[in-house]
């Protein structure tokens, strides 16, 4: 007795509710819209916020790409992609250009996104002020009053302690000169990709029951002081051992044979595409 689920898992009432929250979020860039997050067939904290957005906006003609930490073949990405495909029958792809909806955890793809695409980011902790204020009631007020001293102090304290800012992923950003926003745990390397992005970026936190958005062509600046400017992770002098790419976010690996540290593109589909292009160019050269 296996009951057939509705298109895209949810009943239509739930989808409408979530879409309304999405529209609300787009109208107020960076503002966290509370919504009645549904329990999903995958666990809370495993991308249910992103999944709920994806399922409520997806249509039959959409093409879906899901990435987890840069990889299409990561177990959780595979699991989410399979769930969406099983309940909708939409086409899936690994190529960033071919996708109309891209759900991602902790990365923005290396290939610039276009206005035809929607990026859905999974968010574990949507509240950028949580490290300085535990209470939701208080942080909501701080946002309303544009009171972000706590976030600045956090950076200031790092400078006092370590001589530089020491944030890692999820470095807070200011959206449209108004709301302080957690960009989700993307590396700092990806923060600038949010600025004036052509694609709509939707962020969903299922467990914390919040949806927020960066609409296309919106200013997004990473929080930093003038004399201690924002910096991204450094991969200076490093090249991808497979495709030779530079200026991308790399995974650090240990070569099993000689124990040396090697690097390769974290965005697996980007790397693959470059490899295929190189192979094609080589073939063409040889057969001229």
């Amino acid at each position: 007795m296996k009951a057939d689920t509705h298109f895209a898992f949810f009943d239509e009432g739930s989808k409408k509710e979530i879409r309304r929250a999405v529209l609300h979020a787009v109208a107020i860039p960076g503002y966290q819209v509370p919504f009645a997050s549904r329990e999903m067939p995958i666990a809370r904290g495993w991308g249910t916020g992103g999944l709920q957005i994806t399922l409520s906006i997806i249509g039959r003609e959409d093409v879906l790409k899901v990435i987890d930490q840069g990889a299409d073949e990561s177990v959780n990405a595979v699991s989410i992609k399979k769930l969406v495909q099983d309940t909708t029958g939409v086409l899936t792809t690994e190529s960033t250009q071919d996708a109309s909806v891209i759900q991602s955890r902790h990365r923005i793809p290396e290939v610039p996104l276009t206005k035809e695409q929607i990026l859905v980011l999974q968010v574990p902790m949507p509240e950028p002020l949580r490290p300085v204020e535990a209470s939701e009631y208080q942080t909501k007020r701080l946002h309303a009053e544009d009171e972000y001293s706590g976030a600045w102090l956090l950076l200031f304290e790092q400078i006092m302690k370590y001589g530089r800012t020491a944030t890692d992923a999820d470095h807070p950003v200011v959206v449209n000169d108004r709301y302080l926003m957690a960009p989700s745990p993307i590396p700092r390397f990806d923060n600038p990709k949010m600025h004036q992005s052509e694609a709509l970026i939707l962020l969903g936190a299922g467990r914390e029951k919040k949806i927020y958005a960066v609409p296309p062509y919106t200013d997004v600046t990473s929080l930093a002081f003038d004399d201690y400017p924002f910096t991204v992770e450094s991969f200076e002098g490093k090249r991808c051992r497979l495709c030779g790419a530079e200026d991308v976010f790399m995974d650090e690996l240990i070569d099993e044979e000689n124990g040396e540290t090697v690097y390769q593109c974290n965005d697996t589909s980007y790397c693959l595409e470059r490899l295929n292009q190189q192979a094609k160019a080589e073939v063409e050269k040889e057969h001229v």
Binding site: T5, H6, F9, D11, E12, G13, S14, P34, F35, A36, S37, E39, M40, P41, A43, R44, G45, W46, D68, Q69, G70, A71, D72, E73, S74, V75, N76, V78, E94, H106, R107, P124, S135, E136, Y137, K140, Y162, G163, R164, A166, D168, A169, D170, P185, P187, R188, R207, T231, E233, M250, D251, E252, N266, T268, S269, L272, L275, N276, A279, K280
Partner: protein
Amino acid sequence: MGYVAVKGGTKAIEASKKRLKYERLKDGEIIEIKTILSSMKALVDQVMSEASFYSPFLAALAIKQAEGSMEEAVFLMRAHRSTLPRLYYSQTVETESMFVKRRISASFKDIPGGQMLGATYDYTHRLLDFELAKENTVDNHQWLQAYKQELQDVSREDDIQYFPKVVDYLREEGLFEEYEDDNTSPMDITKESIQFPTPRSARLQTLTRGQTGAVTSLGYASLRGYGQVHPTVGEVRVGDLPIYVDHPTENNENAEDNDFYIGEITVSEVESFVPVSIKNDRHDEELEFEIGYGVCYGQNETKAIAMSILDQCLEHPEFDFPTHSEEFVLLHIDSVESTGFISHLKLPHYVTFQSKLDSIRQVKKGATSNES
């Protein structure tokens, strides 16, 4: 032919699912849903309560599928709940109309209507019964026959007796304040996310679907010293409640004729009496009782009592204990949320860890260059 991505994930997941199925099937035994329904009532009740989804059959199915794991069974039920359209709200249920199976008071020996022990583990000695290892249906059948024979000698009441609430008796004495019925529609926490400060309806809903262990330990913490609530259990009752919904279209004067009975639910209900000091008209301190309320699906009295303590705690946020903080209590007792977020730590964190490594390396580099 160009390069293709390493197809590690898909294959690994498929193999893992197969292995899971193998582990469930390998001993060749099948547990029937009806076996779970009739022999694991407490488990079924607890799953329904934490899932906030009343369906014994589906709960038993979830228990079977989850191989008895509480968190998995609750998770399955909650996820299924998300696929169901919500069409009606039931009418307000008056618990005075409960078909009581068990009812006790720790406050008074003689309560109007009397104490009724019903079925409880409370006074059993927790000694393993090795006889059960060789239990058989023939003996059980005989036992049942004998039990029914005994019952025949007990005289029957012709009318169903409804028990008055213990608190009504105390209200008459003026020890409890009389409150007007609050008929504002409760907030539905499954349709809107809770905002702080919360209305009591949102708090009660969150508490009643809380994980039994979490609700119990926070209630215990409050009782033991990390809280200001020391209740006496006024009344614990377990029984069945009829559920009615309005006619979806007709809404006339004879509303009661148009009500639809849609079934009944078994619940545990607790009213705890908590002394609080209040200022009277002359600004003198005076003691009065307030009620902590606990209710949950099925028979789960510990959870309902713990809930009644936490309800009363959250009514008094002025005390500086975590058990009196609604954000602390309400945001951390949900089974699906806590188990989900804890288990997400098993997901890869390569990118974030790489970012952390970079940050630490940069700080170290900075430190050495500063010293030199």
